[in-house]
């Protein structure tokens, strides 16, 4: 039985090394890019939307009651419309610090701000 490299042709090596090169380049590029603060939205237990906090977004999030609309802009991530009766989620105001949470309880939508540079935050949890 011949070992793999005895079987492989020059063409094989070309393909394998090219693919590995693409993979390694991709990994290096991703590792080097500075990771920004992210907005992570979960519906029930599923993550349904992830975005960078420093890019503007406007998105509809689906829940059992309907669509909760989330806007991400300079003020942070905030809810602009939601099918819930009391609109508590809208009055929660913008979330932009690591650990901030917004939620539309009736529509089961939860928004949290996550930042990799958590060690730089002055506190771990906020008492309010």
């Amino acid at each position: 039985m011949k070992t793999p490299w005895q079987v492989m042709t020059k063409g094989d090596w070309l393909i394998v090394l090219m693919l590995l090169g693409i993979a390694v380049a991709g990994i290096a590029w991703l590792a080097a890019a500075p990771k920004g603060t992210r907005v992570v939205v979960t519906s029930g237990n599923q993550t349904c939307f992830v975005a960078e906090l420093d890019q503007s977004h406007s998105v509809d999030l689906d829940g059992p009651l309907g669509k909760t609309h989330l806007v991400i802009d300079e003020t942070g991530a905030h809810v602009t419309s939601s099918p819930c009766p009391r609109k508590v989620c809208i009055s929660m105001g913008p979330a932009k610090h690591s650990g901030d949470l917004l939620a539309c309880v009736p529509n089961r939508i939860m928004v949290r701000i996550e930042s990799p540079a958590d060690e730089n935050a002055p506190y771990d949890l906020l008492s309010r």
Binding site: M1, T3, P4, T9, L19, I22, A23, I27, W29, R38
Partner: protein, 193 residues
């Protein structure tokens, strides 16, 4: 030795059907065996069943490869109880792209490659297909592409492994009278088309 049934063409077709059925059965068995092994990342597996897809491609043609790969995905999912689960769609998309890539690569540069190269290309296609399906079905956001390079890295190695195993298998099978016409012999030089 040879059966007295009709002509060589009908015999060849009958043989093809029987062997493809056997390949499918083997592929499904390999798939199920593999699913029992632990894996750090779900859906990241060696893809040993691909050995049979490769064998079908080399011993017969692209259509045979489609038959074996699609049947394996369907029957495998059925037996494991994962039919139409999210994992099933990932596997299906991956397999479709992988098989397409393998057939194209085999057709275009099969002369310069052994099954290892074809398999590696197919493995890359499989990874791409899985990430694409995950992006469409599970995590509706670009962040999912971040695992693609890492995924690709590992699947290249598994592709080489299965390609090598397929080569070993093909060399043995190629020596059997039933497959003489296929002319598959690999020794580090160009494989025959």
């Amino acid at each position: 030795m040879t059966c007295s049934a009709a002509d060589a063409e009908k015999l060849a077709r009958a043989r093809r059907q029987v062997f493809l059925a056997l390949f499918i059965a083997l592929a499904v068995s390999l798939h199920i065996l593999e699913s029992l092994l632990p894996s750090p990342i779900p859906w990241l597996r060696l893809g040993l069943a691909n050995i049979m897809t490769l064998s079908a491609l080399y011993l017969y043609d692209g259509r045979a490869a489609w038959t074996v790969s699609l049947a394996r995905v369907g029957i495998g999912a059925l037996l494991l109880g994962r039919l139409f689960s999210p994992g099933f769609w990932l596997a299906l998309t991956g397999t479709i792209i992988a098989t397409s890539v393998m057939i194209i690569v085999h057709r275009i540069c099969g002369r310069h490659l052994s099954p290892v190269g074809v398999s590696a290309a197919g493995a890359a296609g499989h990874a791409l297909g899985q990430v694409l399906a995950a992006r469409l079905l599970i995590i509706q956001h670009e962040a999912i592409w971040q695992i693609a390079p890492l995924f690709l890295f590992f699947t290249v190695f598994s592709g080489v492994l299965t390609g090598w195993l397929a080569t070993v298998l093909l060399q043995r099978l190629g020596q059997h009278p039933a497959f003489q016409t296929a002319g598959v012999v690999f020794d580090g030089q160009a494989g025959k088309d």
